[in-house]
Symmetry: C2
Subunit: 106 residues, 2 copies
């Protein structure tokens, strides 16, 4: 296969990757809501360690386990931010209307 | 669904994600070999821009396009390193046997 053929394959894989990452984000949002309702912390190092172990155990190459972990560090960082927004949404400030917020126009 | 249920779902999604990322890496390795044979550069900003555009176009949420791009910046960085190793593998020095390499025993 030539380079264009491989790139077409990569583009198809990326469509599926975006779907799976989005599905993973929806699960993270759901967990964020449950954490908010039960006052659980967003950052759970034990759970993150389990995720890193799982992806390395699932790895059959050609990437080194360390490379997969680097990708997952970024995935988990993004998901953690999504959960933070779920718990403290910026669009609904708890103290809206106080003097300190007076410079915010909308 | 409770948190454990969502985490089980995430673990299943991660198995599929590892498979797709690995398949993408195999395609990147194949492209690396073709680039080596045709003396093409590893870093191709135009192609990387197309990938970022494709993933944002495929995005249906809940992540912001910017979050997906952050994940893909890491994926592409890892893939670029894999291609570099394909072109200049550390295990097969071109000058093996010279004085400078004499300390390498195997």
């Amino acid at each position: 296969m030539d380079i264009e053929g491989w790139r077409k394959k990569i583009d198809e894989l990326d469509q599926k990757l975006v779907e799976l990452i989005s599905e993973r984000a929806r699960a993270a949002v759901a967990i964020g809501k449950l954490k908010r309702d039960t006052s659980m912390p967003i950052y759970e190092p034990d759970r993150e360690r389990v995720v890193f172990e799982n992806v390395q155990a699932a790895n059959r190459g050609p990437l080194a386990g360390r490379d997969l972990v680097r990708i997952y560090e970024r995935i988990i960082d993004v998901m953690r931010n999504v959960q933070k927004e779920e718990i403290a949404p910026k669009t609904e400030p708890a103290d809206a209307g106080t003097e300190l917020d007076s410079e915010v126009s909308d």
